[in-house]
Symmetry: C2
Subunit: 442 residues, 2 copies
C-alpha cells in the first residue's frame, strides 16, 4: 500500500495564522499524546504510524508548501510538486506517475489517496487496511471510505450503498429532508478517500499524457483536465465499493471548529481575566495578550495581524482579510524560520526589511544572490559559518556581516543560529533571489 496525501491550497480562513505561504494544515494548534503542539499534517502522519501502517507516503502539493512540509515531517515523506494548481485529478495522476516511474511501485499495489487535514481518530487509518484488502480482491475499480453521518448535513456529498457495499449512487449536498431520508437508507458521507490499484489510474492517465514517465507528466501537466478526481474518475468507474468508518471526522477549517479541538483555552503568552467565558487565545507574538470579561471570543495574534472575533462570526472572515496584502511576516523553512519585525517604504523610494532569522543546528540556507538589495546580518546567538563569493568565514555571537547586492552568500549553523537581518534596497522581497550550487565541506 502507498499513501498519497493531498496538501491543499492556502487560505485565509484561519487568518492571521494562515496566509499565502502558511496553510492551516501547518499550524501547530493541536496536541499530540504527550501534550506537545502538533499541526494537522503532523497529526495525520503520527496517526498513520500509530495505526501500524507501514506504507511509503507521497505528499502532492504546490512549491510554496515544500519548505513547511520538510520542516514539519523532515524526510519521512516524499514530496511531489504540482507544476501549477489544477484540482485533485491531475494531482493524483502526478503522484501516481511518481510512484510508478520513480519509486518503481508494483502496478498491482494499492494506492490510497486522502486530504492532508482530516481531524479523525486512529480507526480512520485502520480502515485503510480493509480498503486495501478490498482493492486487492480485484473485482472493483475504486474503494471509497464512507463516513457514518452524525447529522443530516446539507454541505456534504452522500454515497448510497447497495448490497455488499457496492455504490449505487452519489448525492451532492441534498437539502435537510433529503439528507434525513438518505441517512435512513444507510447512505454515508463521501470523505474524499479513494483506494485503487496503481495500474487502474495509470491506464486512465494514458488518455491525457504521452507517456507515464514522471518528467513527461510534469511537462504535460496542463494536458490533465482541471477537474476533481470525483468527477473525472470516480463517477466514470464501472465498479465502486464503499467501506464505512464510524469514528470522529471533522473539518476544522474555521476558528470556531478549531478552538473546539484545542485542549487548553490558550496557546502562547495569554492572561485570562476570571470572568472570561468560552474564550480562546492563540498568541504567536512575544508580547502578552490579556483578555478581560470576554465571551465566546477567539483572539488570534501572529506577525501578520490580530483577530478578535465572536466565534460564530469567525467563518465570515474572508472578505475582511482578503484585501490585506501585506507580505507574509512569518515563514517556516527547511532550515529553520524567519519572522519579520518591520517592512517600511520611505519617501525616497527605498525599502527596508528587518527580520529575525533562526537557522537550526546543522542546517544551511541556500547559496544565493540578490540583485536589488544589500543586507546587514548581525549574529545575536549561536555559531556557524558564512560563505561569501566562495570564501569561508566562521560566525559567532556579535559578528556583523555586510552583504552587497551581487554577492553570493550562504550561512550554515553549527549550533542554532539567531540572526538579525536588515535588508535595504529597491526590492526587499524573497523574490529577488538567485540560487547557486554550493557543497559545504564537513
Amino acid at each position: 500500500m502507498k499513501i498519497v496525501l493531498l496538501s491543499g491550497g492556502s487560505g485565509k480562513r484561519l487568518w492571521p495564522l494562515s496566509n499565502e505561504v502558511r496553510s492551516k494544515q501547518f499550524l501547530k494548534l493541536l496536541c499530540d499524546r504527550e501534550g506537545a503542539h502538533e499541526s494537522m499534517v503532523q497529526r495525520v502522519y503520527r496517526q498513520i504510524v500509530q495505526a501500524g501502517i507501514d506504507a511509503e507516503i507521497v505528499v502532492a502539493t504546490s512549491s510554496t508548501q515544500v519548505e513547511a512540509i520538510r520542516g514539519q515531517l523532515q524526510n519521512d515523506v516524499d514530496i511531489v510538486v504540482e507544476p501549477e494548481r489544477r484540482n485533485t485529478f491531475p494531482a493524483i495522476v502526478l503522484a501516481s506517475a511518481y510512484l510508478e516511474s520513480r519509486k518503481k511501485t508494483d502496478p498491482e499495489e494499492t494506492v490510497i489517496v486522502l486530504p492532508v487535514d482530516p481531524f479523525v481518530d486512529v480507526e480512520y487509518f485502520e480502515t485503510f487496511k480493509k480498503m486495501d484488502e478490498r482493492v486487492q480482491q480485484g473485482d472493483v475499480d475504486i474503494v471509497l471510505m464512507g463516513i457514518a453521518p452524525s447529522y443530516p448535513s446539507e454541505k456534504y456529498g452522500y454515497i448510497v450503498q447497495g448490497a455488499s457495499g457496492r455504490v449505487k449512487a452519489f448525492r451532492e449536498k441534498p437539502d435537510e429532508a433529503a439528507a434525513k431520508e438518505l441517512i435512513k437508507e444507510g447512505a454515508l458521507w463521501n470523505a474524499g478517500v479513494f483506494a485503487f490499484k496503481l495500474k487502474y489510474l495509470m491506464h486512465i492517465a494514458d488518455n491525457y499524457v504521452p507517456s507515464r514517465d514522471f518528467d513527461d507528466v510534469v511537462h504535460n501537466y496542463a494536458q490533465l483536465k482541471k477537474d476533481s478526481f470525483d468527477y473525472e474518475v470516480v463517477e466514470k468507474a464501472d465498479s465502486l465499493v464503499v467501506i464505512p468508518y464510524d469514528g470522529a471526522w471533522k473539518d476544522i477549517g474555521t476558528w470556531n471548529t478549531l478552538t473546539e479541538e484545542m485542549e487548553k483555552e490558550s496557546i502562547g503568552d495569554a492572561i485570562m481575566g476570571e470572568e472570561c467565558v468560552n474564550t480562546h487565545v492563540i498568541n504567536e507574538l512575544s508580547i502578552p495578550v490579556v483578555a478581560l470579561g470576554t465571551q465566546n471570543l477567539v483572539i488570534a495574534a501572529s506577525q501578520d495581524g490580530i483577530l478578535v472575533s465572536d466565534k460564530h462570526k469567525s467563518s465570515y472572515i474572508k472578505p475582511y482579510v482578503e484585501n490585506i496584502n501585506n507580505r507574509p511576516m512569518y515563514e517556516e523553512r527547511r532550515w529553520g524560520e524567519y519572522k519579520v519585525y518591520d517592512y517600511s517604504q520611505y519617501a525616497d523610494g527605498t525599502k527596508s526589511l528587518t527580520k529575525h532569522i533562526t537557522i537550526n543546528a546543522d542546517c544551511a540556507q541556500d547559496y544565493e544572490m540578490h540583485q536589488f538589495k544589500d543586507e546587514v546580518i548581525t549574529v545575536v546567538n549561536g555559531s556557524g559559518e558564512l560563505v561569501i563569493d566562495g570564501c569561508l568565514m566562521k560566525l559567532s555571537c556579535g559578528d556583523t556581516i555586510s552583504i552587497k547586492r551581487g554577492q553570493k552568500h550562504g550561512i550554515r549553523a553549527f549550533q542554532d543560529l539567531q540572526l538579525v537581518s536588515v535588508q535595504i534596497g529597491e526590492d526587499v522581497t524573497e523574490g529577488d533571489t538567485q540560487v547557486f550550487d554550493w557543497i559545504w565541506a564537513n
Copy 2:
C-alpha cells in the same frame, strides 16, 4: 499668574499603552480642533493658550517623564524634576521654590496648581482668571476651584460653601445619600486646583527646609512631609474661597471612559466587521487588527501587549497586568522615539535587544557609553552624523556601525534618521549608560 502642572505617576490602568515610562497623559488618543491626535498633556497646554492665559508654565514631575514632556511640549514649559516621588505637597513647594529662586517671580504673584490630565472645556481655564483676581484681593489664603457636581458621586471630595464663596467645610467621599444632601446645599467637587500667592506657600515651606534656594529645596526634599497639599496646606489654611466651574470635567483614567471621548471608533490599522457594536480599537502596531461581531469591547495593542476587554471590565485591569514586568517596548524621547522589536535571553547568558530608533531631523542623542553591551547600528533611512570616541563620521542609508563596549558615541540627524540597533551583552537595558559632554559643530 504662574501655572504649575502636576504630572502624576505612571500606571497600568491604560495598559498596554501606559507603562512605567509612558503615563496616560502622554497617549495621543484625543483629537485637537483640526482632528490631529493629541495627548492629555498637549490638550491641556493647547486649552491654556486658547483661554488667552499668558502665564509661564512649570511642570513638576519625575525624571522618567522629562523626555516625554520635552517631546510633546518642546521648550514651551519649564520642567521641575522631583528628586523622588513624595506626594503633592512637596512637589508644589519644589515648583514654587523654582519660581521664586530661579525665575525670580514676584512673591505677590498668583500661582495656580492643577493636575496635568483633567478632561475639561476651555472655560475651566478661563476660571483661572477669576481665581487670580480673587487671590489678588488679598483677604484669602487659598482659592480653590469647585466643580458643579453632575451626580451624587461617592468617589470625590465635596467643598461646602458659605457666603461669598467662603469654604465652610470639606467632606471626603460621602455615601450617596449624604452626597445628595451636599449637592442640595450647593457643595462642589474638589478638583485639586489651588490658587495662592507665591509668598504664602514659601512662608509655609520655611518650616521644612533651611532656605528657599531651589538647590537647597532639592537637596532637602526628603524633609518635606510626604503628604497631600490638601492635607498639609489647604485644611490648615485660615481662609479659603471656592470659585465654581460648571463645564465638563472628567477623569479619563480607564479604557471605558477614554473610549467615550474618542472621535472615531478606531485609531491605527483596524478593520471592523459590519456586526461590531460599541467596539473601539486602538492599534499602535504596524500589523492590522480585525474585529468581527464583537460587542462592547475595547481592543488595544502596542509593543507592550494586547488587551481585549469588555468595556465595563476594563477598570479591573490592574491585578492582571501588574505582574507583567517586561521592559518598556516603546519610549518617546527628547530626540525622537524607539520601539523594541525583540528582547531575548539565551541559554549561555547572553542577552540581545533589537530596536528601531527614530532620531528626528536636527536632533541628537546623548554622547554616551555602555559598559556591558556592544551595539551594531544599521542606517535604514535618512542622514546624519556619528561621533565615536571624538571622531566624526557621516551617516547615510545602508551604513553599518559597530560600537564596542567602552566606546563613547552619539548620533545626530540631519534628516529624520531611521536606525536598526542590535545590542548584545550581559546587560542590554537603558540603565547601562554613562553620559558625557559633547558639543556638535554647526
